[in-house]
Symmetry: C2
Subunit: 443 residues, 2 copies
C-alpha cells in the first residue's frame, strides 16, 4: 500500500481497527472515500452509482459499535463497493446492460447482505464489461472505465470498475465476479489483489448470471489480508492448516504465448521465490488445449447467458449492444451436440489438471499473458486463458501484484486446492513479491 | 442365497475361498457355471457371448495360484460376466446395438482389466437394452432377456442381462452400467443386489458411453459382501469408518406414485428396521420435480449418446432400431438453451438433495416405484425416477432385495455419501432384510 498519502486509504481493510484505536472513526473513513470518489472518479469512471446517504448512515452505526467495543466483525465500517451485476437494494442492478437501466434491486444479493451483516459500509456499484462477457470494460452504456495506471488503457474486465476503484483508492475493497477470469484479469491489469474463492464459496444469489456453471463471486483488494477478510465476511472458510508441499509451475510451452515483459517478469518472480526458499517444480499437463477450453467456456457462457437474458432480449433488443446480441445469438445457433462437448471438455480438463497438480500446495502461472493495453488495440484472444483454469477447476485462485514493467503492473496467479490454505499461501507469497503499485495520479 | 442347491452357486463370490479350503477348485467352479449357462440360459437369454475357452484357461491359472497359496485377491477364480457395452478383448462390443455386431473389442475395458488382474474368470458378455437407453431389455438385435422370476416378464434394464444372470445363478457376479438406474432397476426387478459406486469410482474407459455426465459402472451380485468384493477389485474404496448417524427416509408424497405392493413392502421394511433399532427420520426435499429431472437426464443422454454414436449412425442407420434413432434425433433437434437448462437442473438438484441429506448416513427409497411387469405392458414413465437420484448426486447407491410381493421381488434403495461407509451400511441393512429370492426354476 506504500504510496497512498492518506493513512485511511493506506490502511486498506485490515489496518482500519488500528486507526479507530488511535481515535479515527468509521465516519471519517467513509467521508474520506466519498471525497476521493468525488475528486478522482471522473478521471476513471469506476464508480457508476453512489449511495452516499446510505453509506453515511452505515458509517455512523458502525462508529457507535466500535465506540461500544462491539464491532460485528473485523471489517465493520470498511467501505466496500460492488460490481454492477451484484444487487444492492435500491440501486440499479444493470450488469452493465442498458436494457436493465431501470431495474432497481428490491433486495441485496446474498454476498452484499453478508457484508452488511458484518458491518461493512456499501458505497455503491462499479463499472463492468457489458453482461460480464468481455474483458475491456469499454462499456457503451456506463461509459468506458479507464485504467488508473494509464489514461486510455483498459483496466481489463469484466470487473474492470472493481479493480480500478481499488487501485485508485476509491474504496477499501470491492466485490467482482469471475466466470473465466473476470476478477483476476482486471486485478492483473490494475495491479491489485484479486481473489476468486472456490466455486460456490460465496453464493451467487442476487448476482446476474453469465454462466451458472462457471460464475464465481470474488474480491478485489490492496492486500491478501484485506481480500481474505472480505471473503471471510462473505462466508468463505479461513481455517488454514499450513500446506508445506511444493508449488507447481505450470509448463506453458506451446500452450500460451506470453508477452516478453510478462515472460521476463514471471521468470524474475520465480527466481526470487527460489532464492527465498520456495520449492518449485515445473509440471506439464499433457493434451491441454487452452484455445479449445476458451471456446468451450465462451459457448457455455453464451448459451447460459442467453438463458439469463432471454426475456430482456425479447422485450428490448436495442437495450443490448450489437456485439453482445451477436455473441448470444451465435450461442443459440449451435447444436446441442456441440454444447454437450463443451461441458465435457470442461469436466475432463478439470480432472486432468487436478490429477497433475493435486500433490502440490497449488500451482503458478502469470495471471494474464499480457499487460493492460490501449483501448482500440486488438483484444488478445488468449486474454483469459490462464485465469479460466481456476474456473474450470472451481478452485480458489489469487492474482497477486508482482512488480511492473514499462510502468504497468505485472501479476502472478496462484491456484490452490481449498480456500483457507490458499489464503495462507497467497499471504506468504505476497510477502516475497513487490507490493501493489499505486498509480501516480491517485497517491 | 438360500435356495441354490449347488453349493458352488450358493457360495457366491465371498464363499468361494472356503470351498477351495474344503478341496474344491476354481476349475470346478467355472465348470459349474458353464454347465448352468448351457442348461439354463436358453430360458432367459441373459448371456449373449460366452468365452468358455478363455474362462477355462483363467480358471486353471487361478487354481494354480490357490494351490500355491498365492491368490491375487479374494475374488481370484470367481466367474464374472459383463454387460455387452463393456469391452472384453476378443468379444463383440455391441452395447446391444446391431450396428456394432462386428465390433470386436481390441482390448479389455479398464474395469475388466482390473477384474482379470484380481484373478477373476471372465465368462462373457450379457444382454442389455439397446444402447443402455431404456429399461425393458426387449432387444431386437440380441433377443429379449427374460426375468428369471417369471417368463414373459421384463428383467428391467438397461443391465437386464446382468441382473438376470446373477438372479439365475449363471455367474457369481456381473458388471453393469448405470446412467439413471440401469444397475439398480433390473436388480430390483430380479431380486439381486445392485451396487452403483460413486461417480468415477470405477473408470468408464472401454465402456460405450450413454452419457459421460451420468454414466457409472456398477456391480450385480447375490449379496452385499459379494458386490463390495467385486467393486473393490475394480478399484472402489473399502475403507469403512462406521457411520453411526440416522438414516433419512425420503418423503415421496406428491413426488412419485408407488404401486400399492411397493408402498406396502416399503412400509413393512421401515417398520422392521425401526423394530431392529435403526434411527429413521422422514426428510422432505422442497421443490424436487422428479419428472423434470427425468426429462433432463433423458435429454442429456440423448445428446451425449448421439455424440457417442454419431459415426455409426451416419454409416449404418439401419443398425439402430427406429425407436433409438428417434430418441437420438429428438435430442439433436433441441436448442442448446434447453440442454443448458437440463445440465443446470441436474446440478441444482444435486446441491439441493445434498443439503437436505448430508447430515445422515444415507437415505432410503424403494428402488423402483413398481415391480417387474410383462413385456408388452405399458412402460411406467417414472420407472427410474428414484434410482436417477443416485446418478444426479454421483453418490454410491445400493439396491437391496427386500422380500417379495405376488411372487416378484421388492427392493430397497439406500443412497450413501462415500463408498466405504455405504458398503458397510448396506451390509448391516441387508442383515435385517429378507435375503434375495432365488427364482424357482433356477434353484
Amino acid at each position: 500500500m506504500a504510496g497512498f498519502s492518506d493513512p485511511i486509504v493506506a490502511a486498506g481493510v485490515a489496518g482500519l481497527p488500528a486507526l479507530y484505536a488511535a481515535g479515527a472513526s468509521p465516519v471519517d473513513v467513509t467521508e474520506a472515500y466519498l471525497a476521493r470518489i468525488e475528486r478522482l472518479n471522473p478521471a476513471i469512471n469506476a464508480v457508476v452509482e453512489l449511495d452516499a446517504a446510505g453509506a453515511r448512515a452505515e458509517a455512523r452505526a458502525s462508529a457507535r459499535r466500535w465506540t461500544a467495543g462491539q464491532p460485528l466483525s473485523p471489517i465493520d465500517g470498511a467501505p466496500i463497493a460492488v460490481k454492477a451485476n451484484i444487487a444492492v437494494e435500491g440501486l440499479a442492478h444493470t450488469a452493465g446492460i442498458k436494457a436493465y437501466a431501470r431495474n432497481i434491486a428490491p433486495a441485496d444479493a446474498a454476498c452484499v447482505a453478508r457484508l452488511r451483516a458484518a458491518g461493512a459500509v456499501i458505497l455503491g456499484t462499479l463499472n463492468m464489461h457489458e453482461a460480464a462477457l468481455g474483458a475491456t470494460n469499454d462499456n457503451a452504456f456506463l461509459g468506458r472505465c479507464e485504467n488508473p495506471h494509464r489514461a486510455g488503457f483498459t483496466p481489463g474486465g469484466s470487473s474492470g470498475g472493481s479493480a480500478a476503484a481499488v487501485a485508485a483508492g476509491l474504496c477499501a475493497a470491492a466485490l467482482g465476479t469471475d466466470t473465466m477470469g473476470s476478477v483476476r484479469l482486471p486485478s492483473s491489469y490494475c495491479g491489485v489483489v484479486g481473489y476468486k474463492p472456490a466455486l460456490g464459496a460465496i453464493p451467487t444469489d442476487g448476482v446476474t448470471a453469465l454462466s451458472w456453471t462457471l460464475d464465481h463471486v470474488g474480491v478485489h483488494a490492496r492486500s491478501v489480508e484485506d481480500a481474505a477478510l472480505v471473503a471471510q465476511a462473505c462466508g468463505v472458510a479461513n481455517t488454514a492448516a499450513p500446506d508445506q508441499r511444493a508449488l507447481a509451475v505450470l509448463d506453458l510451452d506451446g500452450l500460451a504465448t506470453l508477452e516478453p515483459a510478462v515472460a521476463e517478469g514471471f521468470a524474475r518472480t520465480l527466481d526470487g521465490m527460489t532464492a527465498a526458499g520456495w520449492r518449485l517444480e515445473r509440471v506439464r499437463i499433457d493434451d491441454l488445449d487452452l484455445g479449445a477450453l476458451r471456446r468451450a467456456g465462451l459457448l457455455i457462457s453464451e448459451v447460459e447467458g442467453g438463458n439469463e437474458h432471454r426475456r430482456a432480449l425479447a422485450l428490448d433488443p436495442e437495450g443490448f449492444t450489437r456485439e453482445l446480441r451477436s455473441l448470444l445469438a451465435w450461442g443459440a445457433r449451435q447444436t446441442p451436440a456441440k454444447l454437450a462437448e463443451a461441458y465435457r471438455l470442461i469436466d475432463e480438463t478439470k480432472r486432468k489438471i487436478h490429477a497433475s497438480t493435486n500433490t502440490y500446495a497449488g500451482f503458478l502461472t502469470p495471471t494474464t499473458p499480457q499487460q493492460a493495453f490501449a483501448f482500440g488495440a486488438a483484444v488478445p484472444a488468449g486474454q483469459a486463458d490462464l485465469t479460466a483454469l481456476g474456473n474450470v477447476l472451481g478452485a480458489p485462485a489469487f492474482a497477486l501484484p508482482s512488480g511492473e514493467a514499462d510502468g504497468l503492473p505485472l501479476s502472478l496467479q496462484v491456484i490452490g486446492m481449498t480456500d483457507g490454505p490458499t489464503q495462507a499461501l497467497a499471504k506468504r507469497l505476497s510477502e516475497t513479491l513487490s507490493p501493489p503499485t499505486v498509480p501516480e495520479a491517485f497517491r
